[in-house]
Symmetry: C2
Amino acid sequence: MTVTAIQELFRAKRLKVTPQRCAIYNMMIHTKSHPTAEEIISQVKKTLPMISLNTIYYTLNVFETAGLIIPINNTHTRYDTNLEPHHHLICVSCRKIEDVFDDALNQLHLSQKPDFNIRSYRVEFYGHCRNCQKRSTSIPEKKRLVTTQL
Amino acid sequence: MTVTAIQELFRAKRLKVTPQRCAIYNMMIHTKSHPTAEEIISQVKKTLPMISLNTIYYTLNVFETAGLIIPINNTHTRYDTNLEPHHHLICVSCRKIEDVFDDALNQLHLSQKPDFNIRSYRVEFYGHCRNCQKRSTSIPEKKRLVTTQL
DNA sequence: CAGTAAATAGTAACTATTACTAAATTGAGA
DNA sequence: TCTCAATTTAGTAATAGTTACTATTTACTG
């Protein structure tokens, strides 16, 4: 993805095009790992030395709200005693986690990666729950509101 | 699951049987949600008022290492720009996240829950990577070592 | 029962993230 | 192109989830 393609993507999402945003997104799509905020800033600082962690978090929030990225983890660690394959519906807006029990999903196999000793697995569906579909853009649990439509 | 069954489970895993552990595990398997440490302690305090958050975290760590629970989230939020269905191998020991691209896994469907507007999904496989299988019990990224075998 | 290794709970520290805000920058319209 | 309003940036400070350290207590082994 070229820099101009990134700019077009931002404009399509009604996001302002700033050097910081371009650098952050450019870094993120060119890394194979799933970077943390710290990993992002350490890379981006090579081209934008003055960038703050604050901007990283703000921008990640904007990207997430715009549907450009998905956070894999989340602040509050949640624990599950059910080790059987079962699955989760995660509302990206209000963060609620709902269980799903589905036979077809309980029989997944992974032929590749034989050297990885798999203990369990789960499927996470990301989307908007019934409530958050009504409220459309609101983000109840996160206080900082970003007025970008999804 | 009865209290004696819990005690037997602990002994089978070579964990010491303490009132705190029994109360924590008992609370966790009797809740449908995926409780956070805060939610756990607020419940457990009803029977063990003196229990500390410290013990909650220590015990959760023990349970996790023993393979009794799986944390759904994690401290460092990781971000992913790849919104296409793709998947992750997560080492429960060293926390490394590896990508998996598998055609069969990219065609999952969820018939139930029609009121949840799904944007994307992913499969997470939990287990031990090649390196951590050798080292068996070590937990590189977490500093507090729990000498419980898996 | 006695000895020992692990567990508990308290205090303090750490660290990822968010809040607040003044200054700078972007994009839309004149 | 210039101006202006609204957003974005980056700094400092605060918050909150989690971990570190440690003295005391408790649970298991023999």
